[in-house]
């Protein structure tokens, strides 16, 4: 069937929200479920008053076990990637022009990388303090 040439192509393969980003968004989901369960349990159940990590000392104490900062950093990386890819997906639904989309993507990458760097610094700082 021939296609009238007056129509511009509807869809052509373009890099961007292809299967890779989608798969990351999907794969981070189950990880987030597990860490969030841990996060909420810890922050609302453990601690000196058994009503969550409600004091500074509680948090420092909790971070003494080296597995904890490791989990926090895993959490940080997955949640930041997941939510920024998700945010990009929402922006994509606004049908931005190619250049606006490129700028958005870079802005999100910068935001993501700096949050992760800051968060890792924070986790390591807390872990290095003593009660």
């Amino acid at each position: 069937m021939t296609t009238p040439t007056t129509f511009k192509p509807v869809s052509a393969p373009r890099p961007g929200e292809n299967s890779t980003l989608w798969l990351i968004k999907i794969a981070t989901g189950p990880v987030l479920v597990l860490v969030l369960i841990l996060h909420f349990t810890v922050n609302h159940y453990l601690g000196s008053m058994s009503s969550g990590l409600m004091t500074y000392d509680d948090v420092i104490q909790y971070f003494q076990n080296p597995i904890i900062p490791a989990i926090e950093i895993l959490f940080l990386i997955t949640v930041v990637s997941h939510c920024l890819i998700g945010l990009r997906g929402i922006i994509l639904d606004l049908n931005p022009s190619r250049s606006v989309l490129n700028i958005t993507t870079w802005a999100l990458v910068i935001l993501g990388v700096s949050s992760v760097v800051y968060g890792i610094w924070l986790a390591l700082t807390i872990a290095s303090k003593s009660v």
Binding site: I26, G29, P30, L32, V33, L36, F40, H44, Y45, S51, M54, T55, Y56, D57, V59, V79, V80, C83, L84, G86, L87, I90, D93, L94, N95, P96, S115, Y118, G119, L122, T125, I126
Partner: protein, 127 residues
């Protein structure tokens, strides 16, 4: 002619009228996603208090005794539970599991979410 797709119709994403169960789930997912994303960055900034030592963090914790802040915290927990469970539903259906039962999956997960939220609320306000 003003009926064609256009970016300034983004409010249509959130309009529950003329939509059905799956559409409402989409709305809930998108609103909670945006809320959680906003909260995440706020949270990271606030946690800086931990690096500054006991006094600063103590001041922040005192703030969480404020009923409005407490309610906000509950909202965040609720949003995460709803978004997370709905996310699992989306993941399942994306791989063909339960696609034809997506409504029932949504209702089921939201009942679980309600129970979990009430549990946390009780913990926060009465624990």
């Amino acid at each position: 002619m003003n009926n064609q797709p256009s970016a300034n119709k983004f409010w249509a994403w959130f309009n529950p009228m003329g939509r059905q169960v799956g559409g409402w789930a989409f709305i809930l997912n998108r609103i909670t996603a945006l809320g959680l994303t906003f909260y995440l960055f706020l949270h990271l900034i606030v946690l800086n208090q931990l690096a500054q030592g006991p006094a600063a963090y103590g001041g922040f914790i005192a703030l969480t005794e404020n009923p409005i802040v407490k309610l906000g915290e509950l909202l965040v927990v609720a949003a995460a539970i709803m978004h997370g469970l709905n996310g699992i539903r989306i993941i399942f259906t994306s791989f063909g599991i339960g696609v034809t039962r997506q409504k029932e999956l949504f209702y089921g997960f939201m009942v679980v979410a309600l129970v979990a939220i009430l549990f946390f609320a009780a913990r926060m306000y009465m624990g």
